[in-house]
Symmetry: C2
Subunit: 238 residues, 2 copies
């Protein structure tokens, strides 16, 4: 699996001190959320399987427990735009209107915990600290999205890709001789749709980073970050 299931930090960039180990940690929480004593449902999805579609009734909220989920939209011209990737510990589908505003799809094999909206409301009513927790998760998502905005707004292709790899590197706990090992469960097309670049530009950029020794690419799905500093330089300037 992609991310080692250890103590990784949610939405790490630019924010120290925000650590959310998951929405429902105790069995009591899960029972409260799902109702009279039964478990919150567990969902398995294979690669490219949709969890829900834009416009669907927002009946549930999900917590990723394994794998990666991408949130995406299909634009009027047919282009796909990936709004975010969600990793273990992240929640998916928290939204204010009655319907989802985007599609959600499993990138690879994925497991999620399903929580009914009613259960969520119940917990908000019964436990004030739960409301705060939910609010913290929403603001954490806001922070992550702001970083993504910053990434998309004013940067070159090289900076975007570097920023993306850094984000993944910060999540990853895998090491190989001091270097950070980053697995890429998503395709180049996914990365392009996430960064607003074409697949060719993504490919070119990654190749250039390999040539210049910033990263190593033992497989197409695995990046070894030789120098986090140089990667940060590429992400920061120009």
């Amino acid at each position: 699996m992609t991310a080692a299931a250890g103590n990784h930090v949610l939405f790490t960039r630019h924010e120290a001190g925000v650590f959310e180990p998951g929405l429902f940690k105790t069995a009591a929480d899960r029972n409260l959320a799902s109702g009279a004593g039964d478990h919150a449902g567990v969902i398995h999805l294979g690669g490219r399987e949709d969890l829900f579609l834009e416009g669907d009734d927002a009946t549930h909220v999900y917590e990723v427990t394994d794998g990666v989920v991408c949130l995406y939209r299909i634009m009027p011209d047919g282009n796909r735009h990936i709004l975010a990737f969600r990793f273990p510990g992240d929640i998916v589908g928290l939204c204010s209107p009655a319907t989802y505003g985007y599609n959600a799809q499993a990138v690879g094999d994925t497991r999620l915990r399903r929580i009914s909206r009613a259960g969520l409301e119940r917990m908000i009513d019964e436990r004030a600290d739960f409301a705060r927790k939910l609010l913290r998760m929403a603001t954490a998502e806001l922070n992550a999205m702001r970083d993504h905005l910053t990434c998309l707004a004013s940067k070159s292709a090289e900076a975007k890709v570097a920023d993306f790899l850094l984000m993944l590197a910060e999540r990853s706990t895998a090491r190989a001789g001091g270097a950070v090992v980053v697995n890429l469960p998503m395709t180049r097309t996914d990365i392009g749709d996430y960064l607003g670049l074409t697949i060719e530009t993504v490919s070119r950029t990654i190749s250039k980073m390999r040539r210049t020794g910033v990263i190593d690419l033992p497989r197409t799905t695995q990046v070894i970050v030789r120098s986090t500093d140089r990667l940060a330089e590429l992400a920061g300037a120009a």
Copy 2:
């Protein structure tokens, strides 16, 4: 002032049914938020005056009552990036860590209502519906940010500017002979920093829209949208 203080909708695009007329509508709400009977503080800011800076202790949350506030970051290379504009009814400074993750600055003369973090916590504890309201505002902000992401990711300069003008047009209640009148309290530089474009590109694009008759430009700070449909076309395709 820019936006007529009427019943405008918050974060309107792509979401019907989310209507938040403001965080603290009743005097009772304000009293509960600010403490023992005194008012929540009111703040006046002139153009280009900062409300708070990135890294400041997040002691307060603000609600814009008049004018426009922009949230921005200064990038390592010195570039400024505007994350969002906030209009009357919007809240500013709601964040999970103890410090703000961005700067906030008044675009023109602006008035805000100040709410202490402690007061906010108190209201969450004492009123479950307030927690839900706050959560709804956070998710509304998420929706708005997702739209902005979509705008930045995969679009041409023309589409970005068209999308931006549409957003402002949807907020505006001013009409002139059937056409929507949009005031631009922000400079071209602001727009560029918001859309990830240079000031020249913004200027060129707006000029082209004027030439092709999509908009009229009686002053540099005022746009009259001749055809919302054609503007939407520009925003949607290519």
